[in-house]
């Protein structure tokens, strides 16, 4: 089974690639290849996030409520060193 750090890193990799594409598309809004890559990575990122959240809790506050518990507040927060 993948570790927490490993799964989070995967999410971070997708989101970084997507954000870099966002900045590129802002100045190249008609680049079809970039647009296709963006959509493709977005789907993969969604899956990676859902997998992570299922195991380790919410990445965004919108997904903060799970069952009967407000898991959003749970440690660790991102600025804390991962153990």
């Amino acid at each position: 089974m993948e570790t927490r750090a490993c799964m989070l890193k995967k999410v971070m990799e997708y989101d970084f690639a997507l954000y870099d594409l966002v900045l590129y598309l802002d100045t190249h809004p008609f680049d079809e290849d970039a647009l296709c890559l963006y959509k493709e990575l977005l789907e993969e990122a969604k899956e990676a996030k859902a997998n992570y959240e299922k195991m380790y809790g919410p990445l965004t506050v919108k997904n903060g409520a799970t069952e009967c518990e407000w898991k959003w507040i749970n440690n660790p927060w991102p600025w804390e060193r991962m153990v």
Partner: protein
């Protein structure tokens, strides 16, 4: 509106505290070329941007800079976490500890607190985007100086990532600036008087030369019905 994601843009996991390095790195939190200044500069400048490309670029780079602010804060936090006041004093952070404990306060390496006087919001897209290009280069230089001062590979790895982002932002700002320059070159714009309005009206009237099929013959003299251009 912004949403928070419970992750950093790039991992920061520092194993060995190093308060001396934290004292230098804090400059990219609240110093003259730091991430707080960068995000405030871009997010404030975007209100007067004229095109979709420039608005989006400033909005999205400004947002990424907030993520970098968080990463630099995480670096400072992890480099000082668990360090005793005695060690902080020995490493040159006695004055910092007096005012802020081991919290993260926006200040420059030399100790002065964050000030908006390090940035400008001019309301002129050429001026603002040119400042942004310089700002990215200044931040790149600062990250290179910090890499010179650092010896922990974990710290250097994060600084290198942040340095690379400055290079990418410089590229995007250059592209955004070019789109504004191209737009301005398309047509003459007149501001603060009626000439612009009159110019538009006259452009739609035949100028009297042989090129009557087109409303605009392409010469500069559009006010008279007879423009006197060479194309008659």
């Amino acid at each position: 509106m912004w949403g928070y994601e419970k992750k950093l843009q790039y991992p920061v996991n520092i194993k060995n505290p190093d308060p001396k390095m934290a004292k230098f790195i804090i400059s990219q939190y609240g110093g003259p070329d730091g991430e707080l200044a960068a995000s405030l500069r871009y997010l404030s400048q975007r209100f007067s941007m004229p095109t979709e490309i420039t608005k989006a670029t400033l909005n999205d780079i400004g947002t990424e800079e907030l993520g970098h602010l968080e990463m630099v804060g995480a670096l400072v936090h992890q480099l000082t976490k668990g360090v005793s006041p005695e060690v902080l004093k020995r490493e040159g952070l006695g004055a910092y500890y007096t005012d802020h404990g081991i919290s993260v306060y926006p200040q420059a390496a030399a100790g002065f607190p964050f000030t908006a006087s390090v940035l400008q919001v001019k309301g002129d897209p050429i001026t603002d985007l040119t400042e942004d290009l310089a700002a990215e280069q200044k931040a790149r230089s600062t990250y290179e100086y910090l890499i010179d001062l650092a010896d922990d590979p974990d710290v250097i790895d994060v600084l290198r990532f942040l340095r690379e982002r400055e290079v990418v932002h410089f590229q995007r700002f250059g592209e955004a600036l070019r789109t504004v320059q191209e737009k301005l070159a398309e047509k003459k714009y007149y501001m603060n008087n009626m000439q612009g309005v009159l110019g538009t009206m006259n452009n739609n009237m035949p100028c009297g030369c042989d090129d009557k099929k087109k409303n605009d013959c392409g010469c500069d003299n559009k006010k008279n019905n007879d423009c006197g251009c060479d194309r008659r």
